[in-house]
């Protein structure tokens, strides 16, 4: 693993080959906002909130920092007018789906996003895939997955698996940037395995 030297927001940063810009930045104490990124999971690159500007060989471009690898002589800018504008737009679009999400509202304040800019489409889930990937990659339970595609894409629990696995786990709940996940689980559990609730040991 060879060492890579790059610049982040004007400061020299040392990183290891194979790291992403996001990892290098976090190690150097520079924060970049993320929604779909999680250390334990494969990079997903779905929400695009971690977009930064990178100047390489005299050309500047916008890249998704959680999947873009570091390289020598990169000059990374984590905040600029353009980056902020993109993040604001992403947040406004997501807020149309999950207007009550604390995570999104907080980021929205930071980037001056207007939560009422777009008509509300209350799907609540923003398709970040954290729950789906966590369940598949970390827990290897595959209890929750995506259905359909495009604007109709949504998460769903497979009731049989959920009845078996989820009650003792629920580790994905706190990962969700909205409360869609919990709501979906409650719905499935009440419809598909109403007795599970009584049989399960009570939590204290």
């Amino acid at each position: 693993m060879s060492e890579v030297l790059l610049q982040i927001d004007g400061n020299e940063v040392r990183a290891t080959e194979g790291m992403t810009i996001l990892e290098a930045a976090r190690e150097a104490g520079v924060s970049i906002p993320t929604l779909c990124h999680h250390e334990k999971l494969e990079a997903h690159g779905g929400c695009r909130l971690c977009m930064v500007e990178v100047e390489e060989r005299g050309r500047s471009k916008l890249v998704v920092s959680c999947i873009y690898p570091v390289a020598n002589d990169q000059a990374v800018t984590t905040r600029s007018e353009q980056v902020d504008r993109i993040r604001k737009m992403i947040l406004e679009l997501l807020l149309a789906h999950a207007p009550d999400s604390e995570t999104l509202l907080e980021l929205g304040r930071e980037y001056g996003a207007d939560k009422d800019r777009f008509d509300k489409q209350a799907s609540f889930c923003i398709n970040c895939g954290l729950c789906v990937r966590y369940c598949a990659e970390v827990k290897k339970a595959d209890a929750v997955g995506f259905l359909d595609r495009g604007t109709r894409r949504d998460i769903a629990f497979i009731p049989e698996i959920a009845a078996r696995e989820c009650w003792q786990c629920k580790e994905c709940f706190p990962l969700c940037p909205t409360s869609a996940l919990q709501a979906a689980y409650m719905l499935v559990s009440s419809l598909a395995f109403p007795e599970a609730r009584h049989q399960a040991p009570s939590e204290c």
Partner: protein
């Protein structure tokens, strides 16, 4: 489709997880839908999780999770066909079969769908039944075509 037939199809592909979509397409083609039993069998034999299979089965329009008719009728309502009278063709099909787009009749004979341009606009208005394409249709011809299917 019984699970033996599903197994046969799976074995033709050596239980390769990478052949998942091919296998689903074969089941869809023969059974005209993907039943829960079939999907569970595929999941078990290929070692692919049910969530993954459901993701794929709902992603592609070629798959259906509800039974479809033996014959899939696709009426093109793309721009060219629309101008050339797709509406008339659609109306006569709806009348003859009693179906609206997206529906399947109780005898599982026909499933009706509208599509947007099948790539032969010069033949418009176009209807496809299964894999056969009928062009320059009048309302009367449309009915004749449908009647030729069992």
């Amino acid at each position: 489709m019984d699970s033996e037939r599903v197994d046969q199809i799976i074995e033709e592909y050596q239980c390769e997880a990478s052949a998942l979509i091919q296998i689903l397409l074969r089941i869809q083609e023969e059974a005209h839908w993907l039943s829960r039993n079939a999907l569970e069998r595929v999941s078990e034999r290929l070692g692919v999780s049910m969530t993954r299979i459901m993701h794929i089965a709902t992603f592609y329009k070629a798959f259906s999770l509800v039974p479809k008719g033996r014959h899939e009728v696709h009426i093109c309502v793309g721009t060219a066909c629309h101008v050339r009278g797709a509406e008339r063709v659609l109306d006569s099909v709806e009348e003859a079969t009693g179906l609206k787009p997206g529906e399947t009749d109780l005898d599982l004979k026909f499933s009706l769908e509208t599509v947007n341009c099948v790539g032969c606009c010069a033949l418009g208005p176009v209807m496809q039944v299964d894999k056969k394409t009928y062009g320059k249709l009048s309302a009367g011809e449309t009915i004749n075509v449908l009647q030729s299917y069992e």
